[in-house]
Symmetry: C2
C-alpha cells in the first residue's frame, strides 16, 4: 500500500481514547516516524474491523490513540479457504503464511506428517500469528487468517468442515485447473475450499490413502515437481484467478 | 523427484564417453554418493535433451560418463511464457527464478525500472542461469528458462515479440483470471504470454503509460497488494491452472 494511511494492527478496537502498548507506540513513532496529531488506520485483524485514528501523547512521544468510528474492514477475502501445510524445514512456514495471507487464505493449519523433517518446538503458533498479522497489514487486508497447529495430519483430516478438498500431488492425473473449473462453475459457488500441501519428501502412500478416504481429490499443478514452499502461492493464485473467471462467466450468462 | 535416477545437468550432451568437469564429478560422488558403475540421467537444459548415463572412473573416483542414446527431454513447458521481473532488493530474483522455473516460464528478463532499489553489479546473469538450471534439475524439467538482463525497462518493452502481454497492478479493475479466461479460450490458444511484475515500490505512472502504449493490459490478482516476490508464483500458477481448464473445455466441445 503506497497510497493512503499507515495501517496499524490494534486488538479490541473501540471508539474513544485508547492507550498504545510500548511496542505499538515505538512502531508508529520510530519505524514509521508518525508524530502526535497525525492520523493512521487502525485495524483489528481478529474481528475484521477498522477505524481511522489520531496519535496523541504527553510530549514524550505518542502514548495513545483517539479512535474514530469503527467499521467493518473494507478489504477481506470473499471465500473461506483453508491451507493445510505440512511443516517443512527451518522457517519455511513463515514464508508460506505470508503468501497465504496476501493471497486470501482464511485459515492455515500446520500439519505434522510422516516425512516432516522439522518438529516445531515452543510457541510457534504465536510467532506464526504475528507473521500473518504483519502480512495482512502490508497487503491491505482487513483480517488475518486463523492459524492452527501444529497438529498430526490424521487429526486435521478428521476435522474437515464441509469444504471441497484437494491434495496437491505431482503424480496426479487430474489438474488443479480442471478441478477448480468444475467446482467453481457449479452451484457450490461460495463453498469453502481446503488445499493440502505435503512436506518436502511428499506424503507417504498411507497418508495419501487417508486423504482419499477423507474426501480429498488428488490434483497436480503444472507438469513439474514443485517445492513444498512454492505450492501455496501457485495454488492460491490459481484459485483467485479461476474464481474471477468463473464469476465473469456467471455474470455473462445471468 | 523422489523416484527415478539422479538428474545431472551436462552441456553439449552427445553419445559416447565424455569427461566430467571436477565440479560435476564432485557433485555426483560427494553430494549424491553415486559410485562408478551407477546410472544417472544427464540433461542438457539449453537444448532440452536428455540421456541415461553410466558413471565411469579410474579408481580415484568418477571422472567420466558413458552417455547412452540422446533424446528430446520428456518434460518441458507447453507454452512460451516470458516473465519480466523488475529487480528487487537483495537476492529476491534468485527466489523468483526458482519459482518461475518450476512453474514453466521459458524466459525471465530482469528489468531495471525507476523505483528499483537494487542495481545488480557484476555477473548476476551467470548466477541467475545457475539458479535456473538447479531449479530445473530439482523439479524434473528438461530445459531451463532463458535468462536475460538486467536491462532498462524501456528496452524490454520495445523487444516484445508478439506475446499477449499483461502488467500486474493492484489498482487495476480487470483481473488476471478474466483476462486469461478470455485469452486462452480464443483461437490464440498456443500464443506466447508475457507477464510484467514491478519492483517493491511499483511502477511509476510514466512507466505504466509506457506499458499501455506497448500493448500491456493492466490486471490485478486478488484484492490485496502482493509483494513483488509473491506475484510470479501466483500468476504462473494461475496461468497453468487456466490453461488446463481451457484445454478441458476445448476437448469437451471438440
Amino acid at each position: 500500500m503506497r497510497q493512503g494511511l499507515l495501517r496499524v494492527p490494534l486488538t479490541s478496537l473501540a471508539p474513544g481514547l485508547v492507550p498504545l502498548s510500548p511496542e505499538v507506540a515505538r512502531y508508529v513513532s520510530r519505524v514509521h516516524r508518525l508524530r502526535e496529531g497525525e492520523r493512521f488506520l487502525a485495524f483489528d485483524p481478529e474481528r475484521a474491523l477498522e477505524a481511522e485514528a489520531l496519535l496523541v501523547g504527553s510530549g514524550k512521544g505518542p502514548s495513545a490513540a483517539r479512535i474514530d468510528v469503527v467499521r467493518a474492514a473494507s478489504l477481506v477475502p470473499r471465500r473461506a479457504v483453508t491451507l493445510i501445510q505440512c511443516v517443512g524445514k527451518g522457517d519455511k512456514l513463515d514464508a508460506v503464511i505470508r503468501d497465504a495471507t496476501e493471497l486470501g487464505a482464511t485459515r492455515v493449519v500446520a500439519a505434522l506428517s510422516a516425512r516432516c523433517v522439522a518438529r516445531p518446538q515452543g510457541d510457534r503458533g504465536g510467532r506464526w500469528r504475528r507473521v500473518a498479522v504483519e502480512a495482512a497489514r502490508q497487503c491491505g487486508r482487513g483480517d488475518a487468517p486463523r492459524i492452527e497447529g501444529p497438529l498430526p495430519l490424521t487429526e486435521v483430516l478428521e476435522a474437515l468442515d464441509g469444504e471441497a478438498a484437494v491434495c496437491l500431488d505431482p503424480r496426479a492425473e487430474r489438474s488443479l485447473g480442471t478441478w477448480l473449473g468444475g467446482m467453481l462453475g457449479d452451484a457450490g459457488g461460495r463453498r469453502g475450499i481446503a488445499l493440502l500441501v505435503g512436506p518436502e519428501g511428499g506424503l507417504s502412500e498411507e497418508e495419501m490413502d487417508a486423504c482419499s478416504s477423507a474426501g480429498f481429490v488428488r490434483v497436480r499443478l503444472g507438469r513439474f515437481t514443485l517445492r513444498t514452499e512454492t505450492v501455496c502461492a501457485a495454488a492460491l493464485g490459481a484459485l483467485l484467478a479461476l474464481d474471477d473467471d468463473a464469476q465473469e462467466r456467471a455474470d455473462a450468462v445471468g
